[in-house]
Amino acid sequence: MTAAISHDSAPLLEAVGLSKTFGIVEVLRDIGLTVKAGEVHAIIGENGAGKSTLMKILAGNQPPTRGEMRMDGQPVTFSGPVDAENRGIVLVHQEILLAPDLTVAQNIYLGRELKKGLTVDDRAMNESAAKAIRDLGGDIDPNAIVSRLSIAQRQLVQIARVLLVPHRVVIFDEPTASLTPHETEALLKVIKDIRAKGVAVLYISHRLPEVKEIADRVTVLRDGRLVASHDASELEPADMARLMVGRDVAKLYPDRHAGVAREVVLEVEHLDVPGYAQDASFQLRKGEILGFAGLVGAGRTELMEGLVGLRPSRGTVRLNGKPISFQDVHASLKAGIAYLSEDRKGKGLLLTKDLRVNLTLASLGKFVNALQIDRKRESDALDEAIREFDIRTGRKDILAGQLSGGNQQKLLLAKMMMLDPSIVIIDEPTRGIDIGNKEQIYKFIAKLAEEGRSIIVVSSEMQELIGICDRILVMRSSRIVGEVTGDHMNENEIVVLATGVKTGEAA
């Protein structure tokens, strides 16, 4: 109903010809956007399309290079996020920004504590925090310590904190990225309630079914440009995907020619990684690409870390028939198993060191002559890696942190391939990577398999697993709960296994 009213009203927030350049790179170009009261306007696009930059401009975190914003038809400029907040524009960040050791109520009121005389008024804050959470349909004790809450609960606390400010426009930056389907459902209901109160909502996501469900209007960004803006009723998720990517999505994944050999190279039996994975058993064949699907927190990363000796684990692991166990990564690398962390910046590369140092870090032994590191050979190896993995860098002496996400991933891949491993485990191979680099990474993975190496891909992107894997194992709450192969490799089958809920049951 509210939606019907608002369609007639003037836009609450309007952006006209917004552009943003960093140095010589244009991140946003000529973006126009309107959002009305009581409307959910979804902004979708690939990683790197400019969604977050646009939101940062609208929330006053960054000024636009060109263009203007209007509220209620009047031009406005924001001196900072606090200024935007004072005008009623609030942003719910993608990351959880809460103090983990404080309580729910203390977090909600952090920096704006209610006072009674000289002391803080805990009772009043607890009461109104509890009410704020209830209003959002949640049930969390305001005295609970945030570090004990689930991710979904923390997110709710974060939203409650943001909504405490008098608001007219709420921006959600990928709020469902780490939520289960059930939690996502609950969050979408919260957003619908906010909309029903006549608040304008900007909703960023690349999960298209939920965009279809919640949005009144959809704007698609690609490479910093606005490529389409439609009423949500006119777009199906498949149309949105096509607009986002700018081409047929199926072309993204390489054709696989070589069949998988029968020969089993890795056998894992009843592997426990205490606290994270239980009783995991699986086999990996020569030349196979094996996928690990599951929700965030299902224990996939930890299982792999247990396997390569990064975490304590119990169970039987056989490599080419011989039982092995690894005390540390040095041992697993020596045995020919390389693990590429999902956390490229935190665990994969030394961001403040140059490319050469990063490339050879895991394989330095190969570059030592009479105690001394041979820098010439290191440089030659870098030249070769840049060619082979198409690492795009203007200069070779730049720091790893200055590469784009995609090129960092290529460098990390090159670094691990210096060891010539027979088994490569890649965790979230394309997280935060733009479409062009994605395609290349998939090609590299396929090529490694064709060379006779065996690959394990851990990913939260089901499409990518379906696109490149021969077989997919699904984990739920620390256990491998099923396997999908052949014709059964589709999102629905995976979701059913990953969540334990049969989505299609009602129909």
Partner: protein, 334 residues
């Protein structure tokens, strides 16, 4: 999501931009020499310079070890106490060991000092790595232990090298010279050259920087973080022992106050030299330069009448704070 775009968008900066931080200590040294000249023209005489550099030997050599510990992401507060402890045990050994030949006795004593230094360093290293105790607390504890043991060994008094013949034999190690260059200065440069080779040219050195720069990345790359850190503490212990080898012939005696506040001076020299206190960047020649700067500041205070020399500790404390501020502003700019 847009990080990819914003990253490439920043002005193209490279590893070369760190150069300013690398040359800053040498500029400071040059400025100090000029300042010294104006304070007292005798300051830049060859004799005085050699004298100043010679006196900086203890701190310079200890600070070279500290460069390893700090750039690997650790910290060692116990070095001053360790000097006192190792030197005391060495003198007690020289006084009591039943070795007739003085040369043999001296060589045995020196080997013992190196062994003790390495053992003290190993102890520090194992507490922090295997015991998983913050380096600050672990070495604060051993600082008390080594100091307390020294006080106990000396029973509150002094421990003195008694044998005259041995004293005479050992004396040139501090007071002698090689082709006109005092032995301690040769010791500084030999130790520094060795330290630079290991840190910049060998696999272990690369691992030190990797561990200090990001422990997780090192671990995920198959580097044993514990081993790298523990060895860094052993190197620190060995450097302390080398300083002891120079210290004993100079005074021939130790007491409970030997080496007091040397940890402050060593860490200051490292920081002034441009090594990052949070680890990941190590500058060997910067450290040597930092040790010279500290000694020169003291010398200028002594030669001029601006400031009382009793304020030397306060000035050194101020220098480390100023050096940190300079380091941070240089890093912000790049």
């Amino acid at each position: 999501m847009t990080t990819a775009a914003t990253e490439t968008a920043k002005a193209p900066k490279t590893s070369r931009d760190w150069d300013m931080a690398a040359i800053a200590p040498f500029i400071a040294l040059a400025l100090l020499l000029i300042l010294g000249y104006f304070a007292n023209p005798n300051f830049v005489s060859v004799a005085n310079i050699l004298n100043v550099v010679t006196r900086s030997a203890f701190i310079a050599i200890i600070a070279l070890g500290a460069t390893y510990v700090i750039s690997s992401g650790g910290l060692d507060l116990s070095v001053g106490s360790m000097v006192a402890f190792v030197a005391s045990l060495m003198i007690l050994f020289l006084n009591a060991a039943p070795i007739a030949d003085p040369m043999m006795l001296l060589i045995a004593g020196m080997l013992l000092a190196l062994l003790l230094g390495a053992a003290c360093g190993l102890f520090n290293g194992l507490i922090t790595t295997v015991g998983r105790i913050e380096p600050f607390i672990a070495t604060l504890g051993t600082m008390g232990i080594y100091r307390g043991l020294t006080t106990w060994l000396s029973q509150g008094g002094a421990i003195t090298l008694r044998d005259r013949e041995l004293q005479a034999l050992y004396r040139p190690v501090y007071f002698g010279d090689i082709f006109g260059v005092p032995v301690p200065i040769v010791a500084i440069f030999v130790t520094a050259a060795l330290a630079a080779f290991v840190l910049y040219r060998t696999r272990y050195g690369r691992h030190v920087i990797a561990v200090g720069s990001n422990e997780d990345v090192a671990r995920y790359s198959g580097i044993s973080v514990r081993k790298v850190r523990t060895i860094a503490y052993v190197i620190q212990g060995l450097c302390v022992a080398v300083a002891v080898l120079l210290y004993v012939p100079r005074l021939g005696s130790t007491s409970a106050t030997t080496g007091i506040l040397w940890e402050l001076q060593a860490i200051t020299a490292v920081v002034v030299g441009g090594t990052a206190l949070r680890g990941g960047v190590g500058r060997i020649w910067g450290t040597v330069c930092g040790a010279f700067i500290l000694e020169i500041v003291g010398n200028i205070m002594l030669l001029s009448n601006f400031v009382s020399e009793y304020l030397i500790g306060a000035i050194q404390g101020a220098i480390i704070i100023i050096a940190m501020l300079v380091q941070r502003s240089l890093m912000r700019r790049s």
